[in-house]
Symmetry: C2
Subunit: 216 residues, 2 copies
């Protein structure tokens, strides 16, 4: 393991790249063989340089880190991709892991943390930021049952209509069913969501992010 570790840095913030590279310059057995300012450019650079490790940001203008990670894994699966990002959303972490990311650090990481993450990566050891790990556990932990989990498919459709402010009449036309049926569904929805009326149901749906289209 006396070989130098070849690293590519991908981040749209030049100052972050400079910072990371300055970290790595202090390590004699690490060599920065390329850098890129976007996911798409990153893929290209990796294709050319075939590095051992990639430091990858997630949020970028042209081609995000998730897609770039998938791309890279498809043609260079032995490459270890270390995500380095500002956020530790549940939303971000899992897609990154799925895409093939090997480790997950935050931008608050100090120089030594980044270095050890790289060295461990080439040895096949994953490093996950504790905060991020917590989020992951929360996600894997049987999440608390939400009232709307009990809703059937049809009931969910009706609820979404309610959440758009439609009347029973309008819903019946929208879903091609009788108004009586709509009323049955609505009653079931109200009791399942444990709310008193359609207005509260609409509020529930909107606040719990059940509604797709967010138009301001």
């Amino acid at each position: 393991m006396a070989d130098t570790i070849r690293v590519v840095v991908v981040d749209d913030h030049e100052m972050v790249r400079r910072g990371l590279i300055s970290y790595l310059l202090t390590e004699p057995n690490i060599e920065v063989v390329g850098e890129a300012s976007s996911g798409n450019k990153g893929v290209k650079v990796v294709k050319e340089t075939k590095p051992d490790v990639v430091l990858m940001d997630l949020l970028m203008e042209d081609g995000n880190g998730i897609d770039a990670t998938k791309d890279i894994m498809s043609f260079l699966p032995e490459c270890k991709i270390i995500i380095i990002t500002s956020y530790y959303d549940d939303e971000q972490v899992f897609p990154a892991i799925e895409a093939g990311a090997f480790s997950y650090l935050l931008k608050t990481a100090r120089a030594d943390e980044v270095i050890t993450a790289i060295q461990k990566a080439v040895q096949g050891e994953t490093v996950i930021e504790p905060k991020v790990a917590n989020k992951m556990l929360n996600r894997l932990r049987p999440k608390e049952k939400m009232p709307h989990d009990d809703l059937t498919e049809r009931e969910m459709e009706v609820l979404l209509c309610i959440a758009e402010g439609m009347t029973n009449q309008e819903i019946s036309q929208e879903l091609f069913i009788g108004i009586k049926t709509v009323k049955t569904h609505v009653s079931n929805i109200l009791s399942k969501l444990n709310v008193q009326d359609r207005t509260q149901a609409a509020i529930y749906a909107n606040r719990h992010g059940l509604v797709k289209s967010e138009l301001k």
Copy 2:
């Protein structure tokens, strides 16, 4: 103007500090005289070093950039504070300017942009990132009239109750008024918001962020 410009860098991400400092090292007339990893530490460092320019992040763990900027301006008003942050929310920009920030850059800034911003700052020239400037103009520009701008104070109170799913009866008790009065208000609200019923009004209020408490 042959004097060297004394600069302090405040950012909780060490890699960003390293990046910024690496930018400035290339300029002979700029000297980094201090750095800090939080707003509060930043204030302390500035107190000790009395720099000409401070590069300041906004979002930090211990003492945000806004408060730090205010502090610094109170005891070192001739100091030029340049905000360097990831976000360009309306929410962030204005408080920063009010606090006394002199220029406003994004973390996407290249080395030369940071350098010129610093040099212009000591000459009394402000630099505002175009994207940020746009946001500012949008804020200052007479914003488009929203339906709920027409609501009276009382009507807004009633609307918020509706947005919580309360019935007219409950609202009348909440606001200590007769149910008839509530109905009058509701009718006026519906017509002003241009919606058909209280459910749509509740949806409107929630989607337009009129409701304060966001409980998941």
